[in-house]
């Protein structure tokens, strides 16, 4: 691995990493493992460069104990090329970039209730391959003493990812599938709505289809539950120069995002409605 250009301590020139391992999470969804670290925080993203093909942004599924994991869905020419690579093949990584999810501070024990630990209740909601960065987020919350619930949604059982790892990590894991093949039949929003009505939730964080996140943001704002969403926009530079990822208010999602509060997200007229393509054209969700 080489270390090249730094931007406020972050590499903007790619570093070479060999694919150390990979496995299938679900149909067309694969986790790639690289040895090293990007010094990332949960919710941040990196740029993965496939020389001679393209470079794309991906949220980071794990970055600790000397391993970086990227859970990637095959959606187009760049990821199709990535899926043909073998162990030992090298790619380039830049980052970590952007603003991740807020991690709640550990609550000190109350003065008159010695030994009685106070826990915060964090609910993470992942839709499809948007679930990828949430386990890393949940693990970090749990290390700070929070109780973590993971709501994972997919169209069907064969598309579910990270559910087993979530259970193994001791997170309360609730599943929703559109066809009811496993878990609740319906959407993650239905599961979250039920939770909100039955227990006090200190923070909801979500990553997945934008329409799902918008519904969650609206629900949380209405119920006064703090909420953060991870907004994906077309990225070119990843460090605030090209302007490709700006919202309609002109804010750069590669820097103030991808993770922003529900209030902030709702102030973007494009949130849940459209994003912009590589030439800056509007593309509906």
């Amino acid at each position: 691995m080489t270390c090249c250009g730094k931007h406020h301590g972050v590499d903007t020139e790619p570093r070479a990493f060999a694919i150390a391992d990979f496995w299938e999470e679900a149909e067309n969804i694969r986790t790639f493992v690289f040895h090293g670290t990007l010094h990332s925080k949960p919710g941040q993203f990196c740029m993965l460069w496939i020389p001679g093909c393209d470079e794309k942004p991906f949220s980071i599924a794990r970055d600790y104990d000397g391993e970086i994991w990227l859970t990637i869905c095959k959606v187009g020419p760049a990821t199709e090329k990535l899926f043909t690579l073998k162990k030992g093949d090298k790619i380039g990584l830049r980052g970590a970039f952007g603003h991740g999810f807020t991690i709640l501070e550990k609550i000190p024990p109350a003065p008159f209730k010695k030994g009685e630990e106070q826990k915060q209740n964090v609910v993470l909601v992942g839709g499809g391959y948007g679930t990828a960065p949430l386990h890393f987020t949940g693990k970090t919350h749990a290390e700070n003493g929070s109780d973590v619930t993971m709501i994972i949604g997919a169209r069907s059982e064969n598309l579910l990812i990270w559910d087993k790892k979530s259970e193994k990590s001791g997170f309360r894991t609730l599943i929703a599938t559109n066809d009811g093949s496993v878990g609740v039949e319906g959407f993650t929003t239905h599961v979250l709505e039920k939770l909100i009505s039955t227990e006090k939730i200190d923070l909801v964080q979500t990553c997945g289809p934008e329409k799902m996140m918008k519904a969650i943001a609206e629900m949380c704002l209405e119920k006064n539950v703090p909420c953060e969403v991870s907004i994906e926009r077309f990225m070119k530079c990843g460090f605030g120069v090209c302007g490709q990822c700006v919202t309609e208010t002109g804010e750069k999602m590669c820097q103030i995002g991808p993770c922003v509060s529900a209030q902030k997200a709702m102030s973007f007229s494009d949130f849940g409605n459209y994003h912009r393509g590589p030439e800056g054209q509007k593309v509906s969700w």
Binding site: H7, W49, I91, R94, G240, V241, G243, E248, Q281
Partner: protein, 307 residues
Amino acid sequence: MVNLNVDFCGVKFENPLVLASGVLGVTAGSLARVVELGAGGVTTKSLWRQPHPGHKNPVMFGTEHYFMNAVGLSDAGLEKGIETLTELKEKTDAPLIANIVAAKIEDFGSIAESIDILQPDIIEINISCPNVESELGKPFACSRTDAAAVTKIVRSRTRLPLAVKLSPNVENIVDIAKSVVDAGANAITAINTVGPGMRWNIDLCSPMLANRVGGISGPAIFPIAVKSVFDIHAALPNTPIIATGGINSGRDVLEIMMAGGTLAGVGTALYYHGDDFWKNAKAEITEWLDENNFKNISEVIGIFHKK
């Protein structure tokens, strides 16, 4: 109190810092935000008549001393250009420079005519991008006759002030500047990025930019920009210049204005300093002018030539 206002081709700028073309110009909201952060004016990305895809990623990276890009002039075409300009005029009163581009000399006329209807304050003609040569051939800015021909056709379609953005990658930039002024340009923008240059990643045995080559900007090219602006101002003292290329501080702005720039185009500095650049550079400029007993920033324009 120091006055930072400058007059450029009859257009009043609250301060001489303008966002250079190609940076943060994808939406009106983004450009308006740059004004809120302190820019005196903004330049759009290069506007095409038809959608233009640009290059694949990676399109840019930075180092301590220089920055490289090969975005490839991506743009969604005239319909989006109209939307951006119209929305931007509603959002801000700051002067707007519309940068236009075309693949053929004759096509510059039609994009100029379409943009003229929207009445930006200035039209800037991009004939000097060094990272689209594989697609478009040698930039028109590398030939006196081609540069003049583009200027002439745009001049015939608009009465708006015209600035022509020149390339430093020529034998004599002053000759090109004279030819475009003779053809009807009111102003010069100097300089576009240097090169193209090339960098490879030795571990991946691959060029760092998908386009293999890209334009070089950032602090390393500032001396080339200063000399180009100095030479153009010496030859054409009555032609205002948007001086750009590696400006990285308030002192750089003053230096390049003293060499002959009226406005200072800022691009890569935002990589090195982020959104705070505008505020900090203005504070640095104001402090220097105050300490050196200048009341108006316009007094410094071209003063090196009086030494």
